[in-house]
Symmetry: C2
Subunit: 112 residues, 2 copies
């Protein structure tokens, strides 16, 4: 089962959603969590993830905390207040998008 390649635009939403559930996470943890939740369907590449995290931080949606774990430093991210709001907005947009796409997959009668 090859991983789905159709999620362009939704990575940011995925990150924000996870952080609104798990309070704080580090990059590698996010890739593993996504893999676990989607049963391997979605593979977040690091080349996409890290720039995305940096951008969200730069925009003021995430804040950073460094935690040293057995000689290695993890970079934890958590939502700012603004980031929590952004997460809500993005989730609403995603839900709305999915509803919209349903109109295509399962077209109703009388809409022609």
């Amino acid at each position: 089962m090859k991983s789905s390649k159709l999620y362009k635009g939704s990575l940011t939403t995925i990150i924000l959603k996870l952080l609104s559930e798990y309070d704080k996470m580090y990059g590698y943890e996010i890739t593993q969590k996504v893999k676990a939740i989607t049963a391997g369907e979605l593979q977040i590449t690091e080349g996409a993830l890290y720039p995305s995290l940096h951008k969200l931080e730069a925009e003021g949606f995430l804040e950073v905390e460094f935690v040293k774990v057995s000689n290695r430093t993890r970079k934890y991210y958590k939502l700012t207040e603004q980031g929590a709001k952004e997460a809500d907005d993005k989730l609403e947009a995603l839900k709305s998008y999915m509803e919209t796409m349903k109109a295509f997959l399962y077209p109703k009668f009388g809409l022609e």
Copy 2:
């Protein structure tokens, strides 16, 4: 109600799906049909649509027929045999993607 901006990667699927329903359509018709079906939620821009149609044609998924209607020429597209197969594949991929995303929106218990 601003139009959704999250459909990157799904435009091709939308085109193929419409053509598998309506047999043959021309570009402008597609933009109007999408607007109608999604109640204005999705606005297919022409800058995205036409290059997309040209690409699908170049890939052998669409074939073209010109029809003159009151002094103006419409460019009708229809699925080739290969295009019909591609439409099925893309639709399956989209459905799979949406199932996957549901795992995020409505996380199950026991998946941590």
